[in-house]
């Protein structure tokens, strides 16, 4: 599905990603864990075409997307649910969702079908569809960000820290929904998380990142047992 081959990426003169390779197979949940500043978000932004890698290539469904414009990458079906939710605060919940389908030209009926699907996933969004997104709670905004991502029928969805700043009960709900999206809609998921235990427990495979490099990768169940990972990311 998605193949990242040996990319280097820079912010100005500072190299952030060093020779990073990563693969997401169809229908997999892949988690990417690592400390702050390890380069996880940068990697997501590079996939989205917001940062162009200086070396290496990115393939999506067999097509080289390294040099394609960011707007085209979105319409190819890669969706990024950014860290910190990034909803449009002065727009209604419904408008936010409609903007999620910006790259698709839905008819009014298709748009309504998609909205109904989203309200089925999180009924709360349906209740609040006229409310301004900025007035929602953190958990509701995260729900909105996830649904906004799903509106365009993505072929691959990337979540950046969906548990950031949320109450534990809601965190659990978010992870359940992510698993559901993966199973019901058959969408592969790339999940970036600080909550390493949660991420490992729902993903098939996991990559561990540090200082802009992939340090370790493998089946999540096995990584849970590796003493290094345990010590650094799982608190003993």
């Amino acid at each position: 599905m998605l193949k990242i081959n040996n990319i280097d990426a820079y912010y100005g003169k500072v190299q952030v990603l060093h020779n990073v390779s990563l693969e997401v197979g169809s229908n997999e949940i892949i988690s990417l864990i690592g400390a702050n500043g390890a380069g996880k978000s940068t990697l997501m932004k590079t996939v989205m075409g917001l940062i162009k890698p200086r070396k290496g290539s990115i393939e999506f469904q067999g097509e080289d997307i390294t040099k394609i414009k960011n707007t085209k990458i979105v319409s190819r079906g890669i969706v990024y649910v950014p860290e910190g939710r990034e909803v449009f605060p002065e727009m209604s919940v419904r408008d936010n969702l409609e903007m999620g389908a910006y790259c698709r030209n839905y008819s009014a009926k298709e748009m309504n079908d998609h909205l109904e699907q989203m309200y089925a996933i999180f009924p709360k969004l349906g209740e609040r569809q006229k409310q301004l997104a900025g007035s929602l709670s953190g958990g509701e905004q995260q729900m909105l960000a996830i649904c906004r991502g799903l509106m365009s029928d993505p072929k691959l969805i990337m979540f950046d820290e969906p548990s950031l700043g949320l109450a534990p009960v809601i965190v659990e709900e978010m992870f359940k929904v992510i698993v559901r999206i993966n199973q019901e809609r058959k969408i592969p998921v790339l999940l970036v998380e600080q909550n390493a235990y949660m991420a490992l427990s729902i993903s098939n495979r996991c990559y561990v990142m540090a200082n802009g490099m992939i340090k370790l990768s493998g089946a999540s169940e096995e990584l849970l047992q590796v003493s290094d990972v345990k010590k650094t990311y799982l608190g003993g």
Binding site: S75, P82, V87, M91, M99, Y102, C103, R148
Partner: protein, 288 residues
Amino acid sequence: MGSIIVQLIISGIAMGFIYALVGIEYTLIWNASGVLNFSHDKLITLGAYIFGGTYIVGMQLGFVEGILLSIVTVAVIGIIIAKVIFIPLRNLTMIYTIMATVMLGKIIVEAIRLYWGPVPFSVPGFLVGTVKINNIVISIANIVIIIAAAICVCALQLFLYKTKPGKAMRCVAQNRNASQIMGIDVKTVMIITIIISMVICCLIGILVSPLLNISTTMSNMIGLKGFAAGVIGGFGYLPGAIVGGLVIGIVENLASMVFPAVYKDIAAFVLLVAFLLVRPKGITGKTR
């Protein structure tokens, strides 16, 4: 006495709509690119010169053709300004873009002086005459200003809230990063915004040309008062600019009843200072 007050209020509303349009025109650019366009009053002047100087006085076209051609011309100039100034400078510190827009204003003024000459002139026969209802006399220019500005404001609101490109403009204003992630082409949105802003500038220039002589300094006061309208209404918030503009227009006209008419312009700036001291958020209290 009563009829004088009504006449003053009506011409106040007309000027208020002009200030509101000025407020809207730079608010749009501020929201889309985070840049205060300090050349906006010069762009108004440019619009008036293109309409009055070239198409009406120069080429002797009809008013309708003149207006349409002026709008097309400024739209093309808008694309150039967007590509040369606003887009390349959008990620730099604000001071660079401010300097660039200030210089753009200087360039426009000097270009006008070179191309159309330094002598002020007026557009003959454009929106002259008055209408008399009972004993209230209203000039046709004021009526046209109110109607045209109201249509312009409504059309803009419809565009921003009901159409996809309009919603994309609001998205870019609210969160540029998220807009990119949605696949919105931020550069294109900025170009569209600047074109719309330029067209509004041109309309302002055309609408005020029956009231003022066309000269390089014609829009200095309008530009400043439009800025004051934004601050008084709520900076960056479009309905705020309308409220602020109307307040200034009406207050300054009524002030001319109480104080000598030469002090009329002071009213707007006293209001501006008062609002900055007492309620810097503006009447509406919203900023975006």
